[in-house]
Symmetry: C2
Subunit: 493 residues, 2 copies
Amino acid sequence: MEGIHEVHDLEKAAAVLGWDRQVNMPRAGGAARVQQTATLRRLAHEAFTSDDMGERIEAAAAELGSAEGESDEACLIRLLRRSHADARKLPPELVARTATVSGEAQLVWERARAEDDFSAFRPHLEQVVALARETAERYGYAAEPYDALLDKFEYGLTTAEVRALFDVLRKALMPLLAAILERGRPPDDALLRQRYDVGRQQRMARYLAEDVGFDFARGHLGAAVHPFAVSFSRDDVRITTRWQADFLSPGLFATLHEAGHGLYEQGIHPALARTPLGRGASAAIHESQSRLIENMVGRSLGFWQRHLPTLRELFPAELGSCTAERFHRAVNHVAPSTIRVEADELTYNLHIILRFDLEQALLEGQLAVADLPGVWREKMRELVGIAPSSDREGVLQDVHWSSPNFGYFPTYALGNLQAAQLWEAAMEQDAAIGGELAAGRPAALVAWLREQVHQHGRKFTPDELIRRATGKALGHEPFLRYVTARFQEVYGL
Amino acid sequence: MEGIHEVHDLEKAAAVLGWDRQVNMPRAGGAARVQQTATLRRLAHEAFTSDDMGERIEAAAAELGSAEGESDEACLIRLLRRSHADARKLPPELVARTATVSGEAQLVWERARAEDDFSAFRPHLEQVVALARETAERYGYAAEPYDALLDKFEYGLTTAEVRALFDVLRKALMPLLAAILERGRPPDDALLRQRYDVGRQQRMARYLAEDVGFDFARGHLGAAVHPFAVSFSRDDVRITTRWQADFLSPGLFATLHEAGHGLYEQGIHPALARTPLGRGASAAIHESQSRLIENMVGRSLGFWQRHLPTLRELFPAELGSCTAERFHRAVNHVAPSTIRVEADELTYNLHIILRFDLEQALLEGQLAVADLPGVWREKMRELVGIAPSSDREGVLQDVHWSSPNFGYFPTYALGNLQAAQLWEAAMEQDAAIGGELAAGRPAALVAWLREQVHQHGRKFTPDELIRRATGKALGHEPFLRYVTARFQEVYGL
């Protein structure tokens, strides 16, 4: 199906432009880049939604005979039918407008955040909310508008299902957090907050990324203000991180996180290349892979028993007397923060729940953009116990609302749940994996993930993938077991 | 004319992919990148050559009334008519095939050069030569096939005209070179060949690029094996350079060279943005701007009288006792080399003449690709007085023949001639410019170039531009005056 290669190439080209924008582009280049990206997105959309494409998909389906089963071809036909039908619901004009509004909103957001000026961003956010509503209406939904958007990130999942999961999370995490803060023995993370030479941080981060299996012959590590991962092909996967000279954690853990995303893309079966199957199954499944590497692997005691000597060699003055136990406790420090990307594993999900609630309220018109900063502060205090002193540390902190991708935020917390469920299943299915992880060696886990998750790309829906790999639907229990055990141990509860 | 924006955006996206390929891409990503680029090039070509585009151009012409004169609109119509007619001569299939063959040839060339293995590259070069022939036949020509290709880089120039200019050059440069080598007092360039910390080289190069006027708020300096410049818009101009820890010249002078290209792109009038006029007038005119900055400015005594103190501060151990006079002589060292990009100003043109001759012979079928390495060695000895000991230092040294862009090489030497003619004209027209340059300050010259060259983008043909700026057609005299004066002085002849 030659047509899908063209769409694929256009989308990958847009991805290259997006990566470059965040890693290399001088600020002034933004206006032209918005136009270039909008053109590529529009052309990809036009090509994919053409009648001709619909006919090709049906011709391929007829040739195959049945679109049932797990063959690459059958999975491709199913995905193409679904996404073609979805895409045709959006007129090209709306797609181009979304790209333009989002591109411009992001440029304004960057300045607004820097200057703590919500009023500058407000009209753009209003446009974004209107676009999200328009998009939801175009897609259509059974129960509530948010379903239409969520479905594009996590196919088959409803808002009601997410709400139920998040209600359990909220009810379990808030008391756990309270217990930790009231009765826990807090680790000392001052050792992470010394001067750390960035060049040496880079060497350590690269070494860790390689250790968890990221292949630099098919990958690249760059720097970006907001770390992310993106794939231009399974043989060219870019991860980015950010370096802080006075804090060791962001560089190391953002690298591990993005390396987890990168492993996924590098592990997709080559037979799926240049088709819509050649990417991660969903946003949440993708996040599960990054969280597995960052947290289950990267914040485990075994991992630091293995790697602290290397880190100490790079930073003898800073870490000369530090033990693995002390380092492990420091990187599992729980501290309510106003900033999502700085949040610990426990409060992180509360940040997501906040955004999930606000997105629904904005979409349904129950909350006006003008009232958002105040409501944000109030809800943040309620959930995390701390309110931001500025919009820059509040509602302006995330880039996400520069585009109408409502429904994306919840995938971060869903990814945490999936990560824990996959991690438990891996150790149950192969007794050796737990031992290897305890010794700080992730290779056996990564091999299991490659087999169960990575290679399949987007062949299966998130629900199918989780059931195939773990034998059951996604639940909250494994994650709650995991965080409770980890933080009770770290905090001596 | 909305259609031309789409074509423009596709071409710029392809340029981003090309830049990224050379600056960031892991090798393994090459195959997918070739496909992505070929798709963008094909789509741009299809859009530009459509009947619809032809009708839009004629409708715009009719609206304008006359396509004569120097208004932006009239210049745009003339250029669009010409390039639309040219582009329609190439079937989309040929354009996509050219992108694919070139992309693959380049990947093979990189390995073939590293391994000094011409036989690996040979079948690809044969394909490239066949493509060049096919392309020339498609375009058509009056006198000889090479005319058809040359015309695409230097509109209106014939092979016979270039041959005549190059014959004069050859006859003048070879005896000058012989005199220098036999009777000259050679400068000592050992001081450039010490260990120079790359980080500090980078600081110096950036400082120099800013000093000649390159605007980093609208530009970016990266590293590439083969330095180049490319523009994604006048507000996002990328230059690249290469660093050698044991030789100071490449990093500094490649940066100045590429900054010269960059100044041109940054100086194009904003009104020409997102149209085919928003780029340099021709390959040779572009090269003239880089040569002006690299050589007329960057290798002048005044420039180093002004900047050597800064360089000495960065490298006190290496250059503590060096005088500007000595440094100036060192950076004007003439030494026949087998490598074009390492050649001095004098022998450089002889390298180009070699390639010009060989391209014609290949295109006309007088020279078989299999015989190329031997003929290369023979002719190199004849022209420059030195033969390469390997193909890697011979026929495999340049990336250019990975694509059928025959006719590009001569623009390097033509750029040298144009540079000298523009430089002389600037000093004749404004007496202050010479004094400023003698004091090492390029701003007045750059302002003149902006006025006479940069702002016009591609509004004028190369011949029109040179006549407007200098009052006469391109000649060899200014360049020969310039090199003779410079090297007689440096070599004490």
